[in-house]
């Protein structure tokens, strides 16, 4: 199992990194907070930490810390457009339920 990016997500991520001017990849993670237990983390990565697990998807490095990995196994990150809004969406098979807005979730 691994953590992957959809083709569209990968295209946008590499685009954003190029425009930002630095960064080796993208970090996906979870932290314990939010109304439903867990919240996603999505950040640029300037340097990887020793214990990080690194995946490669469509040429983009996806970096996950080992503590977050069990919650994210099998997740695909997608880039979608909803009306005027656009952004990234976690398709996470581990999620049992999530809060109304989807910003936090439970496994």
């Amino acid at each position: 199992m691994s953590v992957t990016l959809s083709e569209s997500a990968a295209k946008h991520v590499s685009n954003f990194i190029a425009k930002r001017g630095r960064g080796v990849g993208i970090r996906l993670g979870v932290k314990t907070s939010g109304c439903s237990g867990m919240a996603y983390k999505l950040e640029f990565v300037d340097e990887t930490q020793g214990e990080d697990v690194v995946f490669e998807s469509h040429g983009v490095k996806v970096i996950v810390d080992p503590k977050s990995l069990p919650y994210l196994e099998g997740t695909e990150l997608d880039f979608v457009r909803e009306g005027l809004n656009e952004g990234f969406k976690f398709n996470n098979p581990n999620v049992k339920d999530q809060c109304g807005c989807g910003e936090s979730f439970n496994v």
């Binding site: 932290k31 809004n85 807005c101 989807g102």
Partner: protein, 622 residues
């Protein structure tokens, strides 16, 4: 499910705590809204993908309001209720607005700002601008799927306080919290990342649709200071269109066109101009209503030739601005191009030639101001780490100063100084042998401390005893980039020091600041009299005290009559001090000083005699 954006390392927001902030370029012709998403500043587009919103507002008879492209369409048919370029009226009275007679509006000259009568009643420029801002706010909230914590709104560098305040009021009316107003040229420089670059002087060349502005900025320690501005309020890209339109009429050899044909030709001219920025030549094919046909080709060189005088015209303000700043063209470190018209290659060439360097053009000149504002908003909303070392660009809204004897304020840092700033001033003791000094830090524009706002008090102790006026106490005011004020006092001979930290703008609402500024202007006359009165009262107290001290020490030098005369002058002066006439007190002081002239001379003689008694002449070196 909510959509996520990529955050800077370690800056992922808590759920429901995204801090959405935007930058808004509230322009004369067009307005834009931008934000930082996934670490990059982008302009937000409407449903049809257009990011520019024409700054046009139409009030319709049925009570609805159109903003933007829809309002533009009605400009010809409903001119009176369709307000274009409202920015020109912001914070202005009717007499300040140029060419009122040529405008199709029904003006009402009310106190302060001009107002416009429309089918929906009398509207102020603030309300009209608020409609534009409201439209941009809705667009941003739809694009970002959330409520905005605030916006940075750009204003021209030459905007005065009234115009800035009007812009802020419009934002409040539109339900937009203003994080900060930012000068347009500064925003453009921020978009190019010049604030992270080395220190130096930069020029911002802003050729918009109908206006030209040139600003000279100086960057030092991350803070931009506007050194000078110049421009031409009646020169812009539209003039280039018009010149090409005239050329087409001239070449096409057609009958004078109808209104509709003229509009069509004008549009074609504009298209051709835009095409010439990327191609060597542009075709002009128009089938006119009159049955005639225009079939021309204009080359880039021809276009450059026919508009050469317009380009030259922009260089006049450039020269003036540089002269005002006391700089030569080669002292400018970089030139930023703003405004769609700067896409024209021959303008870029002329600017490059004048400054002796290629101008910065790689960002979209229409968007660069909004992008810079968005970057600043992102910082102010707290979406970046402190270690990124962004200094905030701000000015002090009200003067900072100290209370001096008699409850008067001495301004140390004048209002509108850019942050960070440090100023020092020297003060001295009031009484002989004074060993401590109390400092009262105040803020405001008024002359009397009681009318200003008290910020902090502290004391300096341990001043070595000296005669009044001999001690030199240096008081330094320092305001850092966050607006935090620290005041320190240091006695120069002994080095004793005391200091205090305050936040000067804490708890002051914009209304209060505006009120304090207004009262400073309204009471200027009263304040002057009050200051004169207090100054004379303080001087009288000092003279009386010195005289009484002298009588106590050397009373033996006076005859009973002389002593009575001096005491009478003192009583007289005390009585005058209780009054309100500063001139009378002054004459009382003069009277007392005349009455004590002899006494002072005798004291001087006696003290010299005492000092010399018992010494031989050759003990004194000459």
């Amino acid at each position: 499910m909510a959509l996520l954006q990529i955050a800077e390392p370690g800056m992922s927001a808590e759920p429901h705590k995204h801090r959405l902030a935007v930058g808004i370029d509230l322009g004369t012709t067009n307005s834009l809204v931008a934000t930082v998403r996934n670490g990059i500043a982008v302009c937000l587009a409407d449903e049809t993908g257009r990011s520019m919103l024409p700054s046009v507002v139409r009030y319709r008879a049925d009570g609805s309001i159109d903003v933007g492209h829809k309002a533009v369409a009605a400009q010809a048919t409903d001119a009176k209720n369709t307000i274009v370029s409202v920015k020109r009226f912001m914070g202005r009275g009717l007499k300040d607005v140029a060419h009122v007679e040529t405008m199709p509006y029904d003006f009402e000259d009310s106190t302060g700002m001009v107002r416009l009568r429309t089918v929906q009643g009398v509207k102020s420029p603030v309300e009209i601008s608020a409609e534009i801002l409201r439209t941009l706010r809705r667009r941003a909230e739809a694009s970002l799927a959330g409520e905005l914590v605030g916006a940075v709104i750009t204003v021209p560098a030459y905007f005065d306080d009234a115009q800035r305040q009007a812009t802020k009021d419009a934002a409040t009316l539109a339900g937009l919290p203003v994080l900060r107003l930012l000068n347009e040229p500064t925003a453009a420089a921020v978009a190019y990342g010049l604030d992270n670059a080395a220190e130096g002087v930069y020029a911002v060349y802003d050729l918009g649709g109908g206006t030209f502005d040139l600003s000279i900025l100086k960057l030092s320690r991350g803070v931009f200071e506007v050194l000078s501005t110049n421009g031409d309020a009646a020169l812009g890209g539209d003039d280039f269109d018009h010149r090409l339109f005239c050329w087409i009429l001239d070449k096409a050899d057609i009958a004078p066109p109808s209104m509709e044909d003229a509009r069509r030709l004008q549009m074609k001219a504009r298209e051709a101009k835009e095409l010439l920025s990327s191609c060597e030549e542009a075709p002009v094919h128009v089938a006119l209503r009159s049955g005639e046909e225009v079939n021309l080709v204009v080359t880039r060189d021809e276009f450059a030739d026919m508009t050469r005088h317009l380009v030259q015209k922009t260089l006049g303000p450039v020269r003036k601005a540089l002269r005002d700043a006391g700089l030569a063209p080669d002292e400018v470190k970089g030139v930023v191009m703003v405004g769609g018209a700067t896409r024209m290659p021959h303008i870029q060439r002329a600017v490059a030639e004048y400054f002796g360097q290629e101008p910065l053009t790689n960002l979209d000149p229409d968007k660069v101001v909004a992008l810079g504002a968005a970057m600043q908003a992102n910082v102010l909303a707290g979406n970046r780490k402190d270690e990124d070392d962004w200094l905030l660009l701000d000015v002090i809204p009200l003067s900072l100063g100290l209370e001096t004897m008699g409850g008067l304020t001495e301004k140390v840092i004048p209002r509108n100084s850019t942050l960070p700033i440090a100023r020092a001033q020297e003060f001295t003791t009031f009484k002989d042998g004074q060993t401590a000094m109390a400092f009262h830090v105040v803020q405001g524009e008024r002359e009397l401390v009681s009318d200003c706002r008290s910020l902090a008090r502290f004391e300096l102790r341990g001043i070595p005893p000296m005669v009044a006026g001999a001690a030199r106490i240096r008081v330094s005011f320092q305001v850092d980039a966050d607006g935090l004020l620290s005041v320190s006092a240091r006695e120069m001979s002994s080095g004793v020091e005391a200091s205090v930290l305050v936040k000067p703008s804490y708890g002051l609402t914009d209304d209060e600041i505006a009120g304090m500024l207004k009262s400073g202007v309204e009471h200027a006359g009263d304040d002057m009299l009050a200051r004169a009165l207090r100054e004379q009262q303080v001087e009288a107290e000092r003279v009386i005290e010195a005289t009484e001290h002298a009588i106590e020490q050397d009373g033996a030098l006076l005859s009973a009559d002389e002593r009575a005369a001096i005491e009478k002058s003192i009583t007289n002066l005390r009585a005058l001090c209780a009054g309100q006439d500063h001139r009378a007190i002054k004459s009382g002081i003069d009277a007392l000083s005349r009455a004590t002239d002899d006494f002072a001379a005798r004291r001087m003689d006696s003290s010299i005699r005492n000092a010399l008694a018992g010494h031989k002449v050759d003990e004194f070196e000459t």
